[in-house]
Amino acid sequence: MARYAMAIDTKRCVGCNACSMACKMTNNLPDGTWWTRVLTEGGDEVDTPAGIFPEVSMRYVTVSCQHCDNPACVKVCPVGATYKDPETGVVRQDYDKCIGCRMCMAACPYTGVRSFNWEEPGYSIDHAVGDADIAAHQKHVVEKCTFCYQRLARGETPACMDLCPARARHFGDLDDPDSEVSQLVGERSYEQLLTSEGTKPSVYYLV
């Protein structure tokens, strides 16, 4: 039993998207699909600040499935395709069960962390990249971050953890008080996304 969580240090994050790209490659994400993205907190466009130059401010927030303790998506899935894995706390998505109703997308308050394959997934190169043991992407199915379940199964960490150039990302078991994530969440100030929704996300943004 474990309750996996991620802590992301916004004081280190520079919005470089290395995490997004490691995810994209490892999970062989179809063209146009991103399971983790970098959002700019600042101006109205990516990489632009708020304020009037030079009195400006900006912050990057990397966003993917929050693997909530109280996931809104699970409650609304009519077929049980979206479920919370009791062993790991990971919110999972069974592509074979998914009927493409997209109720989960509507219920999830974290817009954009899930995507729906309206068409047969397309790729700019001919062969599948990434891990050999990932589930194949399917048409008419909702997909999202799996915390790289296949890698957890091998005792590894998610691909976005492979190498954060800023060393801003931390992953571990919240049920283990000695884990790095537990320690950081205990010691540092943090924010979580849309706590008012009552979803109890497993991603902590250290501030």
């Binding site: 039993m1 146009g32 130059f53 030079p54 062969h127 379940y149 005792g155 060393r167």
Partner: protein, 824 residues
Amino acid sequence: MSETKRPPALTRRGFLKTTGAAAGVAAAAGAGGALPQLAPAQASASTVTAEGEHTVYTSCRGNCGSKCPTQVVVREGKVVRVSAAELPGDDAPRRRFCVKGYTQPQRIYDPDRLKYPLRRVEGSERGAGEWERVSWDDAIDEIATKIGAAVQEYGGTSVAVWSSYGSYGVLNGCMAGYMSVGYGRFITALGATVLGAGADYAQIYEQSTLLGISGNDQTDIVNAKTIMCWGGNPAEAYIHDWQFVCEAREAGAKLITIDPQYTASAMHSDIYVPIRPGTDGALMLAMANYIIENGLTDEDFMKSRTISPFLVKEDGTYVRMSDFGVEPTQGPISSTTGKPTTIDPNVVWDAQAGEARQASEVENPELLGFFEVNGQQVQTVYQKVKDLITEYTVDKASEICDIPAEQIEELARIYATEGPVAVLTFQGLGHHVNSHHNFKNLAFIAALTGNAGKPGAMMTRGTCGMYPYNSKAYFMGTPGASLTGMYLPQIMETGKWGAQDLNIRVLWCCNGNVLSCESGRAELIEAVKKVDFVMCVDVNMTDTAQWADIVLPIPHAYETQDFDPVCATPYPTFYRKAVDPLYESKTDIDILRLIADKLGMGQIYDKTDDEFLHLVLDTETNLAYGGGYQAFENNTLGRNWSFSDASKIDTFKSTASGRLEYYIEKPAPRNNFGQEVADYERYPYYENAHEAYWDNPLREKYPLMGCSQHHKYHVHSQCAYTPWLRELEPEPRIKINAADARERGISQGDVVRVYNDHGYAVLKALVTEGIKPGVVSIPHGFQADQFIEGHTQDLTSVVMNDFCSNSAFYDFLCEVERCEGGDR
């Protein structure tokens, strides 16, 4: 099956992987004093991957200079995954990779790859993009015929090889324009002309070559108390330094960014100084004056570790012991000339003795003063420089740089009193015609305050040295002229280089994309058009390849065996073939072999690639220290044995005086074509940029100062089309301040035309508060067909500083207007 098996709880091993990096940083920071290693540490050839997969160690070949050691996973004969290679022991924290590195599987199989030799369709214009596939035999025949005819009629110099920083491979690369077995032997056998890079040479020539400054190792950034991102942007442009900046900050260091653009480094900074582009040198001199006037100098450091007390004559040369009849002695062999150096010691004024004496024998030399030596009036270097820069007061710099006087004073106080200061420079300080002075000025303020030569104090972040190699393997004779290709327009116009005739008939473009990544594209293209025959070798169809008559496909880095001696980490790159070359691609050296054979000079390549690698790597010293080829065999990450803890701090070992220098006794231009050298090339100095300065009357017509940036989703023009990166950043957009946009009726995303007398580009606007009003930034790296019209480098010119011959990418003024129907 759409699910994988259930994982066990995260294992201890997996957990340690996640925490190892942080623990390792602490270990490295406290690991001073270890003995230099006599044997290379070795990362074992780990191949712990899923069934049917194997791992190959190599490096990314992006020309960002990072050379990230990479593990490449191959499945069913294809590259499927890449990751930062784990580095052993104390080097673990240096593990590095970036968003671009992760796209390598896509770059290898990119539909954009050149697949077979192409010839310009007969009768079509150069640059028209009309190509036909030809066989290798036909392509080689044609190239050899053209080269043969040119050499016969006009001599070897009529063949010019034009390169940049695409690869430093010892077989296929072009370090310094020709330093490889492939190109070196060909060029020196023919006596061909070497056309090297202009990009980055303000810094390379002034700071590295003339002042001998190498900077401290990146792990030493953690020892700084103040970090200044000044011309550098570690959060985006050299992201591998960023974790060390963070660590220093978490220990209390102050972060300052001096930049007209509000970068991610600026975002995290305690102080953001929005300087006007191209004026940094004036800021440095004002800081120097403030530091001197307020007694904030470190006199002990100045006396013992800098050239400040050296006596200098009225003609600008040093007083030396030979002036007192002491015969110069012979020093060690110079690595650049291969000849013994001459030791003729410098002289200082001994305050106690009241006389001029050999510098090394005087404990307390005068820092300031005029003296008489042998009947000649002399003064100290410090006196001379101090008197020459008085014009640049805080108030004057405030006007030039558009920074409040109080902020300049604050910067000067922090720099002088809150050290050690790590200044992270790089090319934000190097892309104007006046840029090279910055590096003398920076060395001067470092000399005044002791912000160099010790832990945490640096004037740039250094590398992990050069893996020793046998450069004799590159030479069959000597090259013809060796100069920057940026002079091609001048040469094609005059048929001369200096006093010599130079009639370039064949242009061989390789290891770079000069018509995208050097400044003054329009003028360079006009010069290229005048050359009889142009060929280009590259992995992808580039802006440069577009202007060739024949284009030849070469392999991606992971399809190549080669060695790059430049150590960005302690692990130099041994490129290994993870997969066989795709399509019909051939390596540069194989192409050169075919052409040399046709020309009847096939004997210059009398060895196989593997044998050449032995010849380059198996030097006596390398072998004695357990290095050389064998250190990299069997998929092993070999370490640079010559890089030790002692090499992490630049202690001025590469200067002639062994001290920090900011004065150049005998300044010689990098490319000598008989030009005048001004006296101010000797000392810290400021002059306006060529075009981009505030008081330029041309601003009435073109009020905006242009610049660019080393963007996080580009490695210069590499990755220009990489689909995953273009999903993140689909097209070029010019950054313009919201107030400037408003004045011009430009809204977010409008199509705009940016123009000046050099040329123009049409692209979308990125309206932002993240850039100084009056400044626009146009992205670099996108190719011509990715702009609606024009190109970034169409706005720039070939005008360089003729002392250092640097491409002056940011030295332009322009105007921006909304295009008719600009919201399309």
